[in-house]
Symmetry: C2
């Protein structure tokens, strides 16, 4: 399980909207940063409006880019939405740790994403009810790309149920941090929450081993 996604620091360094992708190196990095800004803007809007009510113009305005640039990168609005409703790119880094440390890794990874980028690898499943039939696509993607993918990493009986319960723990932490905005969770050091919460995730992944 490797992590081919653009690094967070590259995203942070490049200003969105600056595109020079006829050049190499920095230009490619800028293009990735702009795409990431568009995806973030789209995620923000999909958490608040039915996808049928979201215009390309609204995404462009929020991302600070032009609508034609979105079309250039993503083809059309539906293709952009499909990408946002897909978990594959995020799950790669989320699962990128040895099984015996995966519980703590996922907790830490989620909290870093939430606190540093306001992003969460899996939380957007909670907005499925907003999106009618598209919500069912989101659910199907979530099942195959998150729950089933984690199940494949596990050994022993009831792996499917244990994977769903581990994912439940991580969804709940994302809701508490990013939506309910619990003051204690938001002010505690990431490592402290990782130590307190990671073992509960790990207990679902590798039951019967020492997790404390």
């Amino acid at each position: 399980m490797t992590s081919p996604a653009p690094t967070a620091s590259a995203e942070a360094q490049s200003a969105p909207g600056v595109t020079r992708d006829h050049r190499s190196g920095p230009a490619r990095r800028d293009a990735e940063a702009t795409k990431a800004a568009i995806v973030r803007a789209c995620r923000h809007l999909l958490a608040r409006h039915a996808h049928t009510d979201i215009t390309l113009k609204a995404v462009a305005e929020r991302a600070g880019v032009s609508a034609p640039l979105i079309l250039k990168y993503f083809g059309n609005k539906d293709a952009l939405f499909s990408q946002v409703m897909n978990f594959e790119a995020d799950v790669e880094a989320f699962l990128d740790a040895p099984l015996e440390d995966l519980g703590r890794h996922m907790v830490r990874h989620l909290l870093i994403g939430q606190s540093e980028h306001g992003a969460d690898p899996i939380l957007r499943i909670v907005f499925a009810p907003l999106h009618g039939e598209q919500g069912d696509i989101l659910r199907a993607n979530f099942r195959t790309q998150v729950s089933d993918r984690l199940t494949e990493c596990l050994h022993g009986p009831d792996a499917g149920l244990r994977a769903e319960l581990a994912v439940s723990l991580l969804l709940g932490l994302g809701v508490m941090y990013g939506i309910a905005r619990g003051p204690h969770v938001r002010s505690a050091p990431i490592e402290e929450i990782t130590e307190r919460y990671g073992p509960a995730v790990q207990a679902q992944l590798t039951p019967g081993t020492l997790t404390g």
Copy 2:
């Protein structure tokens, strides 16, 4: 911690829309059933639309009652929404167990609500981003009526953080069951999930005690 709320069975027995509240006994029960149906309809819509876009007529249609009946019971639309954005009535029964068994009790209570009534005592916090300033009211209520209320039940250091982490676990289970609709969680017996997941909740409530 007692549970004065109308019982689920009374709700299930009475058809919504039938009101005879000039009489006593069954009439009062019917009125409660109708109010519950209106609240359920309102919750359903608030999970899918900004509150500013929800009409009294839409709530009435979904609940199978007339709009004037809603006004009779709740006064006005804002008062109805305030009640739906309040957790107090639900948290009463959710927390109604001795501390040493509270983890399992909350897991069981949540799963019974989800599976038998399609309702969850705390999950509606996830729709806060839909509702602008009303979402902040929902967050404030959640903090005082759910997290802080649970904190008051706990002993020892870091009770506020431990309460938020316990609530995180329960939020995540609600998301997995009711929104992501995880097939394993939905098909496993409630007692099995309670035995697998309850100890993780309990470990936040009473750390250091045996929870397995």
